[in-house]
Symmetry: C2
Subunit: 559 residues, 2 copies
Amino acid sequence: MAKSEKRYALGIDYGTESARALLVDVSSGREVATAVYAYSNGVITDRLPGTKTRLPAHDWALQDPEDYLRALDATVPAVLRKAKVRGDQVIGIGTDFTACTMMPVKRDGTPLATLKEFRANPHAWIKLWKHHAAQPEADRVNETARRLGEPWPQRYGGRISSEWFFPKALQILDEAPQVYAAADRLIEGADWIIWQLAGRETRNLCTAGYKAIWSKREGFPRRAFFEALHPGFADVVDAKMSREVLPLGARAGGLTEAMARRLGLAPGTAVAAGNVDAHVAVPACTVTGPGKMVMIMGTSICHMVCGTAEKNVPGQCGVVEDGILPGLYGFEAGQSAVGDIFAWFVRTCVPAEYAAEARKRKVTIHDLLARKAAAYKPGQTGLLALDWWNGNRSVLVDADLTGMMLGMHLGTRPEEMYRALIEATAFGTYKIIRTFEQHGVAVDEIYCCGGLPERNDLLMQIYSDVTGREFKIARSAQTCALGSAMHGAVAAGSAAGGYDTIQEAARKMAGVRAKAYKPNAEAHAVYDRIFAEYDALHDYFGRGANDVMKRLKALKGVA
Amino acid sequence: MAKSEKRYALGIDYGTESARALLVDVSSGREVATAVYAYSNGVITDRLPGTKTRLPAHDWALQDPEDYLRALDATVPAVLRKAKVRGDQVIGIGTDFTACTMMPVKRDGTPLATLKEFRANPHAWIKLWKHHAAQPEADRVNETARRLGEPWPQRYGGRISSEWFFPKALQILDEAPQVYAAADRLIEGADWIIWQLAGRETRNLCTAGYKAIWSKREGFPRRAFFEALHPGFADVVDAKMSREVLPLGARAGGLTEAMARRLGLAPGTAVAAGNVDAHVAVPACTVTGPGKMVMIMGTSICHMVCGTAEKNVPGQCGVVEDGILPGLYGFEAGQSAVGDIFAWFVRTCVPAEYAAEARKRKVTIHDLLARKAAAYKPGQTGLLALDWWNGNRSVLVDADLTGMMLGMHLGTRPEEMYRALIEATAFGTYKIIRTFEQHGVAVDEIYCCGGLPERNDLLMQIYSDVTGREFKIARSAQTCALGSAMHGAVAAGSAAGGYDTIQEAARKMAGVRAKAYKPNAEAHAVYDRIFAEYDALHDYFGRGANDVMKRLKALKGVA
């Protein structure tokens, strides 16, 4: 390859419904080609593909490992072709994944789901991040940790989610001991895909830290804890996992001959260690230091900020040393439904005349509602909602909380409720920011990326007004894939035309837009008064003063 | 008229949007003909008809007195014609009216609104019952009564509504002193229409007692109280009203020659004293004794029950001796929005696909929602609402409260919310019944009438299950008009072929249906648990623990 030729990095972003490959010019960050593959088996919630097995309960969510390989086949050659880039111009590959998305595999990486004898067993398949059927196991993890006085829950806001690694693994052992026994490894999708690319089992620090209760100083929870959960679970780490954990941007290995041939890339191309989708977005938003919060705003919101010391913030999803940026403590918090709430509203609560008007004006119903809602000033709807349509992830860490809205009268219009829902999610973010600050984690700047900033001007302004902060927007519309490509460039290193640190990669490859959202002081003053109301109801319904939401949820089972 | 010929009574029911005439066979209660007139100027909320005057605020609601006369012209000759009944076969006329619906008139009954010099002044027009712009005056009435230690507020649940007579009269004095000065009389529509029919100014006990703070034992509030409100208001009773009050079913006079000619009736036909629409329905449901609650269930619900002693029940709309049935204390309570909430929901919150499905199945959207909602068991939606979309009339007497719903999640469907709203209104009724009982007013049986029992099976069953009571339904679908006709028959008296008491009229002319709604014990047990949650939130949001609804409403003005 001629020295003057452009070098590229490939970022592959494994999402919930699809995977995206993005080819990026390493020198400038210019995105030269992208391709998307929608998983042929999507999110499996009802029946296992190609079988007659129905999933046991509605909170199951599985995936098919073959979809991850089909995604590579469908997208990697496509971006090379589109960009007219030769495979050997690609110097590094980075990936990012939903997490915790985990599966049982054989010693050679073969997923149990692909083996005939296990194919009809739901527990052999991939448990997607939003598989919520391990709640009883999560409850046991939390109770046991409390009972034994384990030190690590405080790193995770006091409570482990049913979405995480050990509850899911324990559910396999509880409900399908034969699958558990047959699994040589239990592995994150994020690490499994690296195994497929580089031919080598690795474990990445990010999922280990945020989803599998690992920390640089303390490692995994102790054997006695796992044993207390289930005698057969005592050796889960040593028998089914690995204690070797690769830091972010590390080179996991070189692309295998077979995979290089399959994808049209050069063998030995640097493959970066696995990553969590949200976390790679941080440097892709230009953020490489402490005090700068990155928000990925889509169906849900993930809030990430780095600090220089470990702090235990109530309801944080986790603090992991080196977890987001090397040398810093990475804090994560989240709102479990944001865009999902607006989608629910559009699907469930918008009258036919609005659908007709949107059609006539050739806009989406979201856009129509946003336009109408923009005519209201802060406080003018008289409505207030709690954004708990999918529980509360931070700061209450309580999946059993539900949505609430008040202030409706006979003249209340759909756009007012839509606006109230946007405001509620903004209050949720504000609560998270304030909680970080109250516990010693600075949030001096805010950077955003994801689908919502791309298309919802009103929402962004409301977030800015509610929080009283400027919201900067990442230049890229595909920050996760870009962040992955950046990690690919770091895995390649400067010798190969890449970068030696993520900071350097961020300086060259990332950027923010000229347009930022700035808070209006008057609006913020009104919102501060409404936030006080939100806060009071947040505590009333969320901290035990009135557990009506939980009692109603429990009654659903009785009825 | 031959002795063997049938005798008829005419009931005229003046509603909010229209008036209905009903011709009833006095001997059997058979309804032989009906006709409806929709007011040509309807409810005036925006611009005064035939003028350029816009109404000052959104909580105004006026009416045109000429619509009441046009209603007579359009319906009375029509029912005679339809039934092939001669005018002289009609022995009595009863009417009922919305209340307090009041207007300023000249000494001869001419409404100021019909006079050129006042036509453009909104205060010259009829203030409809749901005109809510006199809230500041209502507040002054309540504060002043508290300050002066007046004895009567306890008869009205502790608080006077902005809908009632004196707040509306005081608003005229405050905002249009020239209209107040020019008004020789301030009069209820209920009494004005009698004046038009019988040529004589009368005042009926029902509106006087329930809307104008009159009682048989104490009369009107004292002069000093009115003076404290406004010096110019000191003489309001003696200068603008009358202290002579006619009991229910009394003969106000005979039909005038002119009106008899105009309507095709016989001059001198007995005209009963005015009535409130809700109250005439009580005997039309067969109820003529204590302990039997009558609920008129439509856009709102009016609860009426008679007792043998005066009790002060928190949040009752009023207790009036002889106010519903002679010789008994008539208690009234109410829910300010019921059917209105469902209509709001159908208008505002039901997606296009439901509208399409309803069209396809040739049912209304209400029916479609009810069918889908019927598939849920009590407690199964996990939702709970407070039915305060139009404030709370009983037991909190607070127009500034607003609606609330909680329990929503990403899978919540429109029919679940619809069901939760029905349940919320049933809880509101249950709260009213329990409050009556807790304060010594027995509620042994429940009788219903109005639009909702006619068409909403699910709703009726839910009310029965929530309250644990049987709900009997009036035979007539037009109980108000029937009740008016019954009062017309009583005004005529037995000598003229009518009846001497309303009890006798009820025995002959009223009835209930064979089908009643009976409570399911299991459902009631679940609903009792949910009602406990409703009750806790009712008190939390309604009794000052968290006045968020009021603060948000106040903020709307600031915004």
